[in-house]
């Protein structure tokens, strides 16, 4: 019981923000919260939010671990493009589905390990180390697709993007399962605690015998793997690999999701579930704007304003001054002696 209470208190700001965003959208577009069952699946705008959140949600899982070690991974958007290109070219060439998926996941893992080695072993600053793949990755993806949108027709693979299992769309199943698997892995074992230790003070953690280098390679590899799953979903969704646009700027949304989730960019304590709720908040905003009928010129402004408000409410400075203001008001009503 106390465990649930603690979890809820940790997730409270994110859950409240999500609820407020959903309520606001429902006020603007009354049909928003409507979910029905049709064509053998759950159908409605809330499902759109859950499905479309998949790429950012998956990226934010890996990004949370990376940020917890005081790192950052700018390359995950490009990794989506690479893995998508690999998957699409192999599907088009007629390879079996299992081989395609394993190859894409393998390539994603490789991208992650590359970043991990640059950061963990060679000690390059994470923002620079991952910038390399961010810039080069899209070029690699374009070489694989030869600069065209590589399309294919393989319903079994497209199922990953637009299919449904027991009424739940596949992308949702994939991000929830990945979140659960990685969340359990780091929390049931001591892995999560060790990652936090590395993030808070790498030298101290190494001195007490934590293998920080290994953990850093591990978190970037996890980020690469998550990006590969996102790449599979994005590619299956449009039945094609668009090397120019697949995953473009999604690394920034993923970082934002982690920040909304309350994990500090300075490393240390992290929460994967809070990051996932952060991803849902971002996507709820996107879908809400689309369904509101407002002109597209407002899209980014609305998103920015809402996110500033959410982040400001989480800021300790704002929280302290709100508390101070409340105290002043209480004092005005009933002056304390100490104030005179």
């Amino acid at each position: 019981m106390t465990w649930i209470a603690t979890r809820l208190r940790r997730l409270a700001p994110q859950l409240i923000a999500l609820a407020l965003v959903v309520v606001a959208i429902t006020l603007i577009a009354p049909g928003f919260a409507h979910v029905t069952f049709q064509n053998g699946r759950l159908y409605g705008s809330p499902m759109d939010v859950l499905v479309r959140a998949a790429p950012v949600a998956l990226l934010s899982i890996g990004m949370t671990l990376v940020i917890a070690t005081k790192g950052i991974d700018l390359s995950v958007g490009a990794t989506i493009a690479i893995t998508g290109a690999v998957a699409a070219s192999m599907v088009a060439a007629g390879h079996p589905l299992a081989v395609v998926i394993l190859a894409a996941l393998g390539v994603g893992l490789l991208c992650g390990v590359w970043n991990g080695l640059l950061v963990g072993l060679i000690d390059i600053q994470p923002i620079i180390a991952t910038l390399i793949l961010m810039v080069a990755g899209r070029g690699i993806a374009q070489l694989i697709t030869e600069g065209v949108i590589l399309t294919f027709n393989r319903p079994a693979f497209a199922f990953l993007g637009s299919g449904a299992f027991l009424g739940v769309p596949m992308p949702v199943i994939l991000w929830v399962l990945t979140g659960l698997a990685i969340g359990l892995l780091v929390r049931v074992s001591a892995l999560g605690l060790l990652i936090e230790a590395v993030g808070i003070n790498r030298r101290a953690s190494m001195m007490i015998g934590i293998r920080a280098r290994f953990l850093i390679v591990f978190v970037y590899a996890a980020a690469g793997l998550c990006a590969a799953i996102a790449g599979l979903i994005v590619t299956a969704d449009i039945k094609g690999a668009d090397a120019n646009n697949a995953g473009l700027w999604l690394e920034l949304d993923a970082i934002l999701a982690v920040v909304i989730g309350g994990t500090a960019l300075s490393g240390g304590r992290f929460s994967i579930s809070a990051s996932l709720i952060g991803a849902l908040i971002i996507q709820a905003l996107n879908t809400g704007i689309l369904i509101s009928g407002w002109p597209p010129e407002f899209n980014l402004i609305i998103k920015a304003v809402v996110i500033i408000v959410i982040l400001a409410l989480q800021s300790p400075v704002v929280a302290n001054s709100l508390a101070a203001a409340a105290r002043v008001r209480a004092d005005l009503k009933e002056p304390r002696r100490s104030r005179t």
Binding site: L143, E146, G147, D242, P296
Partner: protein, 320 residues
């Protein structure tokens, strides 16, 4: 991309060889922006084909999206003493100096695909499409297709603020202006991509009574239309018959959709800017015929009756 570069290299080699055989053949330098989109790659391929068909020795330079590379390439062409220069300018400004150098060397310059901010006596002519006209052709098709029927249109705009998005929206609105039965009910940006086109369409379907109220989709490019078609199919709707789909660009994939009856019409942004340019150049060099300062390419409308399969076959190897 690699294929295009290889093809360019091969074509250049062939052209050089041909040039030594017939000394009278024209030598033309072509400074291309790069290969940032499928259309751009197709433009390069078509330009090389056109040059080959006319026996023109084409010297090709890829600027990789940088104006400084283009200026360098143009200076190189001037030094080589080419007969004419084609430029697909990456930006509108900063061309005056290098164009003056070309003029002093008496080498005519033709702009392809984009206009520039420079005195128009510095270049022979510019061959471009009219984006407002493209939108208008799409709108006119829809006006003809729906007749007097009430029609709620969903518009998928290009990247907010980009000139094709602004102009293609304007042209379409001009076309439907006199027809109160046709209204743009919703308009959002799909960033010219399939993924965003699909996502936006999914939301439109939900907002418009499960798509039952939607009469037509107008997408500023074919890629967004392809995404929207997928969204409609997954929602159990029939694009092409229940909901009309009209878009712009005429990339190969939209012809596959048309072949399957899922798209109705597309307006071509032709990759053949070089054809009209070579025509103008040949006439100018032959008897000094000065072309108009702007040669507008044809914005051809393709529908299901134009044998989409054959068009697809003819376009699929252009590098789109």
């Amino acid at each position: 991309m690699f294929r295009t570069v290889a093809a360019a290299g091969a074509a250049a080699l062939l052209a050089t060889f041909a040039g030594t055989v017939s000394a009278s053949a024209l030598t033309v330098g072509f400074s291309q922006i790069g290969s940032e989109s499928g259309w751009r790659a197709a433009e390069t391929t078509v330009t090389q084909q056109q040059a080959k068909d006319r026996g023109v020795d084409l010297k090709f330079a890829d600027a990789q999206q940088k104006q400084e590379n283009q200026i360098k390439a143009v200076r190189g062409f001037i030094a080589q003493g080419v007969d004419a220069i084609l430029i697909a300018p990456v930006v509108a400004t900063g061309w005056d100096a290098v164009l003056k150098e070309a003029q002093e060397a008496d080498i005519p310059v033709i702009l392809l695909d984009r206009q520039i901010d420079a005195p128009d006596d510095l270049y022979l002519t510019a061959v471009t499409s009219d984006q407002v006209h493209e939108g208008k052709v799409a709108g006119d098709w829809l006006v003809g297709a729906v007749g007097d029927q009430e029609c709620k249109v969903m518009e998928l705009q290009g990247t907010t603020g980009s000139s094709p998005a602004i102009n293609r929206k304007k042209g379409f609105e001009e076309a439907i202006a006199g027809h109160p039965n046709i209204t743009i009910a919703r308009s959002q940006t799909g960033d010219f991509t399939r993924t965003k086109g699909k996502e936006v369409m999914e939301s439109f379907i939900k907002a418009e009574n499960g798509g039952k109220d939607i009469c037509a989709v107008y997408a500023h490019n074919d890629d967004m239309a392809v995404g929207a078609i997928q969204a409609m199919k997954e929602a159990g709707l029939k694009p092409g018959s229940d909901i009309k789909v009209v878009s712009i660009d005429a990339v190969p994939d939209i012809f596959l959709a048309m072949e399957n009856g899922e798209a109705n019409a597309t307006v071509e942004l032709t990759p053949n800017m070089a054809g009209p340019a070579f025509d103008a150049l040949e006439a100018y060099l032959k008897d000094g015929t000065v072309p108009p300062k702007w040669i507008q390419t044809e914005s051809k409308l393709y529908t299901a009756s134009d044998d989409p399969k054959a068009v697809y076959e003819s376009k699929k190897d252009l590098g789109y």
